[in-house]
């Protein structure tokens, strides 16, 4: 049995679901960010798998896409962590359950 695109896609799906669960269920804002990062990584893994096994046209564009996703992920983490800092400074907690000032 050779390792084909299905293996990578399954792995990506599993990683995505773990990240999704972490993002949905963690109390800590930084924990949620970790989950989001895992999800983005799973998507990247899927894209790179398509780049390797897909047709020649998609090979390059998927990798460019991955580069963009990594750049956006870096920006997202920077802003997200800055937000966590501001929330902490005002509320002395970064638990997403206790920042309910807007009664959301």
């Amino acid at each position: 049995m050779t390792i084909g695109i299905e293996h990578y896609l399954t792995l990506g799906a599993l990683l995505f679901c773990i990240g999704f669960f972490i993002a949905l269920s963690k109390k800590n804002a930084i924990g949620v960010l970790i989950g989001v990062e895992l999800m983005l990584n799973a998507v990247n893994l899927t894209l790179v798998a398509f780049s390797r096994f897909g047709s020649a046209e998609v090979a390059l564009s998927t990798q460019v896409f991955v580069v963009f996703i990594i750049a956006v992920a870096a920006a997202e983490v920077a802003v997200g962590l800055a937000l966590a800092l501001v929330v902490y400074r005002n509320r002395q907690t970064i638990s997403v359950d206790r920042t309910t000032l807007l009664r959301g």
Binding site: L15, E37, L38, S55, V66, A74
Partner: protein, 206 residues
């Protein structure tokens, strides 16, 4: 690359990735969680190498391991009195698990059941050059937008995280007060009173 080496690499790296991700779920300490995240990211970088995407793999290590995880650790260290614990919310964990299970079944079914076809043998060579050229030629507009986005994120993050001198003084004073045991109250209560006062006012008037 023969089959044996490839199998060994794929399964061990896959185990590393999924194992690291699961340990984030399990571990109670946030700093442990970040370190497991790093392990997971390194596994993903290795998987990129098995897909012969060496540029992406190196960028993954550079950005995720060298920058993002360190940034997270910094944020954890800068929020010293927040909970370090990384536990799940019991109330939402059940429904979230259900949703995630459905998503998992759906995505895996698609991944395994679909006939993806088009399997190429040769990988791209000189990826760094190709990616660079296509970034400048075909994807110049997204590239520029990405640059603007990164600049905006940089400025925004600084603007958010920046502490005015007054803020810093107030914060330091409140910390000092807490250290001296005067204000050892639940921090949430410190912020909440206005609302509580409003509520009691309305009660009094009614």
């Amino acid at each position: 690359m023969s089959d044996f080496g490839f199998h060994l690499a794929f399964w061990s790296l896959g185990a590393m990735t999924i194992g690291g991700a699961s340990m984030i779920l399990i571990s109670r300490n946030l700093i442990h969680a970040v370190i497991w995240l790093v392990m997971s990211m390194l596994g993903v970088a290795g998987l990129y190498l098995t897909l012969s995407a060496d540029f992406i793999a190196v960028v993954q290590v550079l950005i995720y391991v060298g920058a993002i995880s360190v940034l997270m650790l910094f944020a954890i260290m800068l929020t010293p009195r927040a909970e370090r614990d990384n536990s799940q919310n019991i109330k939402t964990a059940g429904p979230a698990g259900l949703v995630v299970l459905m998503v998992m079944i759906a995505t895996m079914w698609v991944a395994i059941d679909t006939d993806w076809g088009a399997v190429r043998e040769a990988a791209l060579t000189e990826q760094a050059r190709l990616i660079g050229e296509s970034l400048i030629k075909h994807y110049i507009l997204p590239f520029e937008i990405g640059a603007v986005l990164l600049t905006a994120a940089l400025v925004g993050a600084i603007a958010l995280a920046r502490q005015d001198d007054e803020d810093a003084a107030v914060h330091a004073a409140s910390l000092q007060a807490e250290l001296e045991g005067e204000g050892a109250v639940d921090p949430v209560d410190v912020v909440d009173p206005p609302i509580a006062a409003d509520a009691s006012d309305s009660e009094a008037t009614s």
